[in-house]
C-alpha cells in the first residue's frame, strides 16, 4: 500500500508536460506538431517491443513506424480512456502478432550498441553474447509467450497493463506469463552457467 502511493507520486512527478494524452487530443484536432512531439517521446518503447519480439532491427522499425501511423490515422476517434503508453503497446502488440502470422521471425545477428555505456572489448563481447543468447531463447518461444515476457520483463508492465495491451483478462495474462516463464527458464540456464 505504502509502495503504491509512493509509485503514484513518482508517476505524477515524472509526467511530462503536456502529457501524452493531451498531445493526442491535439493530434485529434489535426495538430501534426503535437504528433511530432509525441513520436520521439515514445519511439523507444514502440521500437523496443517490436525488436525484442522480431529480433530484427529493420522489421522492428517497420512495425514501430506502422504503429505510429495507425495511431495517427485513428486519431479522429481518439478518446483518452487509458494511458497513451498502454494504447501504443496495444497497437504494437497487434502488429507484432499479425506479422508473426505471416512470417517466422529472423534471429538477431547483433543488438545495437548502448549509447551511454562504453565497455571494454571483453565486456562488450560478453554483453553481446549474453544478449544474443537471450534473444535466441526468446525467439524459440511461441509468439504469445514471447510477447508476455517482453511486456513484463523488458517493458516492466503490470498484469493489468499487459492485459490491456494483449486484449486478454488479467487472469489469462498471469496464466500465460506463468507458462512463458516455465518455457523460458530452461533456455536461460546457459546464461547462468556463463
Amino acid at each position: 500500500m505504502k509502495t503504491g502511493s509512493f509509485e503514484f507520486n513518482v508517476r505524477e512527478l515524472a509526467m511530462p508536460t503536456p502529457s501524452d494524452e493531451e498531445l493526442m487530443l491535439n493530434v485529434r484536432d489535426g495538430d501534426l506538431a503535437a504528433f511530432e512531439q509525441l513520436v520521439p517521446r515514445r519511439q523507444t518503447e514502440a521500437w523496443r517491443v517490436a525488436y525484442r519480439f522480431t529480433g530484427d532491427a529493420a522489421e522492428a522499425e517497420d512495425i514501430a513506424q506502422q504503429a505510429f501511423l495507425r495511431i495517427l490515422d485513428a486519431a479522429p476517434r481518439y478518446t483518452p480512456t487509458a494511458a497513451f503508453r498502454t494504447y501504443l503497446y496495444q497497437v504494437v502488440t497487434r502488429l507484432c502478432l499479425d506479422r508473426h502470422r505471416k512470417k517466422r521471425p529472423v534471429l538477431a545477428e547483433s543488438l545495437p550498441d548502448p549509447a551511454a555505456a562504453a565497455p571494454t572489448p571483453e565486456e562488450h563481447a560478453g554483453a553481446r553474447d549474453r544478449d544474443r543468447l537471450i534473444q535466441t531463447a526468446l525467439d524459440s518461444l511461441p509468439a504469445d509467450h514471447r510477447l508476455a515476457i517482453v511486456l513484463r520483463y523488458f517493458e516492466g508492465l503490470s498484469g493489468v497493463e499487459m492485459a490491456a495491451a494483449m486484449g486478454r483478462s488479467p487472469k489469462a495474462v498471469e496464466r500465460l506469463l506463468a507458462r512463458a516463464r516455465a518455457a523460458l527458464a530452461p533456455r536461460l540456464e546457459l546464461l547462468r552457467e556463463k
Partner: protein
C-alpha cells in the same frame, strides 16, 4: 539509487509495478550491485537474467522518418471535418437510444398506415375500371376506346365513366 532504496523495490519490479524512471534507475543499480542482483535472482531468476540485457535504443532518425511518412500521407481527417457519423458518436448513449426508438416507432407507424390504406385504394381503382368498361359496353362506344387523350371523344367517354375531368 542505492541498496537501501533498491531492496524494497525488488518485489514491485518483478510484478511490473514500478514507474519507468524508477525501473531504469533500479536496473542501473542492479548492473553494479551483485548483492541486490542476488536478491533479485532469489526472487525471480528470469527477471534477474533478462534485466542484465542491454536496452536497445530506437534507431537514429526514426522519429524523422515516421514524421516524413506521416506528412506524405496528406492531411489527416480531423474531428472538425465533415463526418456523417460524427454526431452519432458524440451523442450520449441515452439520446442515441431515444433517437433510435423514435426512428423505429416512426417507421412502424408509417408501415401500419400504408398497410391499412392499401385495400381501400385498390377497391377504388377496381370500381373505376369496371365503370369505364360498363360505359363503353352499354353505349356501344367501343370505337372511342382509342381516342387520343384530351380529344372530344375521350372527354365523352370520361364523362360516361364518371371521371369528370380526372386523368385516365
Amino acid at each position: 539509487m542505492d541498496c537501501r532504496t533498491a531492496q524494497p523495490s525488488l518485489s514491485a519490479y518483478v510484478r511490473g509495478e514500478l514507474p519507468p524512471d524508477v525501473r531504469s534507475a533500479l536496473q542501473a543499480h542492479l548492473r553494479e550491485c551483485p548483492a541486490c542482483l542476488a536478491s533479485l535472482t532469489a526472487l525471480d531468476p528470469i527477471a534477474a537474467a533478462l534485466g542484465q540485457s542491454q536496452e536497445p535504443p530506437a534507431p537514429q532518425g526514426f522519429a524523422t522518418r515516421v514524421m516524413a511518412a506521416a506528412r506524405s500521407r496528406g492531411k489527416p481527417v480531423v474531428a472538425g471535418d465533415w463526418d456523417p457519423l460524427h454526431w452519432w458518436r458524440m451523442t450520449p448513449a441515452p439520446m442515441r437510444a431515444a433517437a433510435a426508438a423514435m426512428l423505429v416507432a416512426g417507421l412502424t407507424a408509417g408501415l401500419a398506415t400504408g398497410w391499412t390504406a392499401r385495400p381501400a385504394t385498390r377497391q377504388a381503382q377496381d370500381t373505376q375500371a369496371v365503370a369505364l368498361a360498363d360505359a363503353v359496353a352499354a353505349y356501344h362506344m367501343d370505337y372511342f376506346g382509342d381516342a387520343p387523350d384530351g380529344s372530344l371523344a375521350d372527354g365523352y367517354v370520361a364523362l360516361l365513366a364518371g371521371r369528370n375531368g380526372e386523368g385516365r
